[in-house]
């Protein structure tokens, strides 16, 4: 197996290519930087226009169902691709498939399909139907609603990726086509090709395909960051049998270089594990005092251009839980170096064996590019360079004043249907 590499084609498309002859499958994914967070765009007339809620997701469905050769996913599966699908989140839209055979044919169908779409109002209205059903189904998806509630507290530009039936009804095909022509362009996209194939042959194929395509505007469209402050400091919802408190920090990393953002993300992973997990002192303290049920949990991730740290626990004593969390953060620095080094060792181990699983490996590298604009593999050399003093400094430099608290309250009785 080789190392992954990033290339930029003449048309500005970023390409991640990784070959591994121990694998049977290949994975192809085209990421377009258009998601639910994109709220406005510059039209062809030069005016700033609002992007209607649900547009990116509707466009994803539309592209899948209305290529000039018919349904994209059907065409791929007819040619032995499997797992063909598409997904839109707040920041991007991905089209992807896996295959064991017919890779070249499937790549051709895939790329030529995505870039050759027929737009009509009739086609658009038909596409909308399944999304209306999707919106209806989502209304009773508790986990989805919890996530949505959390993000609403944090981001002023957050809206549900699906949109609403009302917002979708406003969308006309000409508007959709204009957005498609603006965003579905090589400089605003990222192509991943990973698995068992002849690299030279596949690279040549991809270049040949793109050489025959024409794009009206080929520019990178950058998402406008939301206001750096959280929208509301607190919120609540019902849903559990136990009271749960989630505190979410929104951390502005815009002043950091891409490399420093990438490095900070690693450090925050260590920070969360050492300070807010079942291994942490706070967990021991809160459990011994019967303040929490179960263990404290935490995670960090990039969302909307910000680092997010989420810390949660089941507790009836919200104030004491939060006071303890604040205390750990304000007194940060007492952490033992040994704990840092242990965490680092665990990370290195994880990365060492990561290539066993194609999708785990590739998705981690993709994330380096999409989240941090850092087009490189995670190397053991880099991980070895992470050090305790640098870690302390970077964490101490973080502004932890911008957070929101969500209370998921227990209900007295279960729902009628239970």
């Amino acid at each position: 197996m080789n190392d992954s590499k990033f290339l930029t084609l003449d048309n500005g498309l970023t390409l991640l290519i990784y070959t591994d002859e121990t694998k049977v499958t290949s994975h192809i994914e085209l990421v377009t930087f258009l998601g639910g967070f994109d709220r406005e765009f510059i039209s062809s007339k030069g005016t700033t226009c609002k992007i209607i809620d649900g547009t990116a997701h509707l466009l994803e469905h539309y592209v899948c169902e209305n290529t000039k050769e018919g349904n994209l996913l059907d065409n791929l599966e007819r040619n032995k691709a499997f797992g063909a699908n598409a997904l839109t989140n707040s920041e991007r839209t991905s089209y992807y498939f896996d295959t064991v055979i017919n890779l070249e044919k499937c790549i051709k169908i895939f790329l030529e399909g995505i870039y050759n779409v027929d737009f009509s109002q009739k086609g658009l209205e038909k596409t909308k139907y399944s999304i209306y059903s999707e919106i209806r189904d989502a209304k009773n998806d508790f986990r989805r609603n919890l996530s949505s509630k959390k993000l609403h507290l944090l981001f002023d530009n957050y809206c549900d990726v699906l949109g609403t039936c009302k917002s979708l009804k406003k969308i006309k095909y000409k508007y959709l086509k204009e957005l498609y022509e603006k965003y579905y362009v090589p400089k605003n996209q990222f192509l991943v090709v990973a698995g068992n194939f002849d690299e030279e042959k596949i690279l040549k194929l991809i270049k040949d395909i793109y050489s025959k395509l024409e794009f009206k505007n080929n520019e990178r469209n950058n998402m406008k960051l939301s206001n750096k402050n959280v929208v509301r400091k607190s919120g609540s919802m019902k849903g559990n049998s136990l009271n749960e408190v989630l505190i979410t920090y929104k951390i502005d990393v815009s002043k950091l270089s891409d490399f420093d953002k990438y490095k900070l993300d690693w450090y925050l992973g260590i920070f969360c594990e050492n300070n807010f997990s079942r291994f942490s002192k706070i967990n021991e303290r809160l459990r011994n005092k019967n303040i929490i049920n179960g263990d404290i949990t935490s995670e960090n991730y990039i969302f909307g251009g910000y680092e997010i740290i989420e810390i949660s626990a089941y507790t009836d004593n919200k104030k004491e839980f939060l006071d303890n969390v604040f205390k750990v953060i304000s007194e940060f620095g007492d952490e033992e170096k040994e704990d840092f080094e242990l965490c680092k060792k665990a990370i290195i181990l994880r990365v060492t064996v990561r290539k066993d699983n194609l999708s785990s490996y590739v998705s981690a590298i993709m994330q380096n590019y999409t989240d941090f604009n850092y087009p490189y593999d995670d190397t053991i050399e880099f991980l070895n360079s992470l050090n305790y003093d640098d870690y302390k400094k970077m964490i101490r430099d973080i502004d932890f004043t911008n957070y929101s608290v969500l209370n998921v309250k227990s209900e007295d009785k279960q729902q009628k249907n239970a």
Partner: protein, 416 residues
């Protein structure tokens, strides 16, 4: 009922394609109590007397280069097992052999569990009960989960598909930490089955497992192979349950059972029928409901292959329940057409062949495939069964053996 009876010599699958190795240990469970097992799953292998805090566990795992370890209750049909698995890098990827260190850790975790007053810590047991109950409450808020749960209850026979914890979570209250510990002691007093998969030196690994882990625990492993619990109840009239619900979406479920099940052969045909309805080789249900009629976002089919049932399902709006039901029957009519079957069957076979190849890429899939054969649950892969099946056999199965037995309709609120 057939019994599994084999010596617990460690079973080693050498595979040099992977950087990781997995050591996988299972203890058969004879006493099956949903309440106790749901707690035991979270409590077992958590800590030991030597590693009595999470921090110590973490430290020893990292120093042993343990990539991950977990314990859980697993089942094949009605045969239950307490499972513990540990994952670590191979010598060739790390430059160091860590099997022995990980064996010592696993042995301590299994046979020297952390106890307070001679039992699992009461506080931990009470916490686990609360968290399980919370999860049940959350599940009931999820329309996708709820409708499937209610349908399974309708389809069920002898409690095979149901779980008492979901039906009555307050049943957890009476379980004590002594109950859990007594159950645990009983389970681990038996001999385990041990499997190792990865890039290992087979002879060296076997010796280390024998000396360190098994250490006098070599002997027979015996349990009833209750893998298949075929549905027998074919009612004379189709049972229909309609439930008014507060969810926005409505759910439509149609259940089929097999008349006079004749073992694996029928299960292979059942799986093939499922693929005809809903798979990457044939999406007739999806095409009919979504593409042609704009009725759904999601629909599909699933089968319980150790029970012998097939379910068609769809989430739709209240006003479209009837038309969805009508189209379910049309789909079943279409799939019994010999021309349709003849067209799709080669695609299904080809996909099954490719799936066998794809499984080899993942160490867990590779391991599970080997174990299924070793415990005599499967003799061969789905492709090996299906490759010689004819379209006529599939048609006869659909026409003569697949019987519609029940319907569950969850009527939601929203009409749009």
């Amino acid at each position: 009922m057939k019994r599994f009876n084999k010596n617990n010599d460690s079973v080693i699958f050498v595979n040099k394609n992977f950087k990781r190795c997995i050591l996988y240990i299972i203890f058969p469970i004879e006493e099956v109590d949903d309440f106790k097992l749901s707690i035991l799953e979270k409590m077992a292998f958590d800590k030991s007397m030597n590693y009595d805090t999470d921090k110590k566990i973490r430290k020893v795992n990292i120093n042993n280069y343990c990539h991950s370890y977990h314990g859980k209750v697993t089942s094949v049909g009605d045969s239950y097992f307490l499972e513990i698995a540990i994952c670590f890098p191979s010598y060739n990827s790390l430059g160091k052999d860590v099997l022995a260190d990980n064996l010592k850790f696993i042995k301590d975790i299994i046979y020297n569990p952390y106890l307070e007053d001679g039992c699992f810590p009461k506080r931990d047991i009470e916490d686990i009960k609360k968290i399980i109950k919370n999860k049940v409450v959350r599940n009931f808020k999820d329309v996708l989960w709820y409708y499937e749960y209610k349908n399974d209850k309708l389809l069920d026979e002898r409690g095979y598909l149901s779980n008492e914890v979901l039906d009555n979570p307050s049943g957890l209250d009476k379980i004590t930490s002594k109950d859990i510990y007594d159950l645990y002691k009983k389970i681990i007093s038996g001999n385990p089955l041990i499997f190792l998969c990865g890039d290992v030196d087979e002879n060296k690994a076997r010796k280390e497992i024998d000396d360190i882990l098994l250490d006098g625990r070599k002997g027979m492993v015996s349990f009833e192979e209750k893998y298949f619990n075929y549905a027998k109840n074919i009612p004379s009239k189709i049972e229909k349950v309609i439930e008014e619900c507060q969810y926005k979406s409505s759910g439509v479920f149609y259940n089929y059972k097999i008349k006079d099940i004749k073992g694996i052969y029928d299960m292979v045909l059942l799986r093939t029928v499922k693929c005809l309805i809903s798979s990457s080789s044939s999406e007739i249900l999806f095409d009919t409901l979504r593409k042609d009629n704009d009725l759904v976002y999601r629909c599909g089919a699933y089968s319980y292959l150790t029970f012998g049932s097939l379910t068609l399902w769809a989430f739709t709006s209240k006003k479209n329940i009837e038309v969805t039901e009508k189209l379910f029957l049309e789909v079943m009519e279409k799939i019994s057409d010999i021309k349709f079957i003849s067209e799709k069957l080669p695609l299904i076979k080809e996909r099954a062949f490719l799936n066998d190849e794809i499984l080899k890429e993942d160490i867990w899939d590779t391991l599970m495939e080997m174990i299924d054969k070793y415990i005599e649950y499967k003799e061969k892969s789905y492709y090996d069964y299906i490759k010689d099946i004819t379209a006529l056999e599939v048609k006869n199965f659909i026409d003569k053996k697949l019987i519609l037995v029940s319907k569950y309709i969850g009527v939601g609120e929203e009409d749009e």
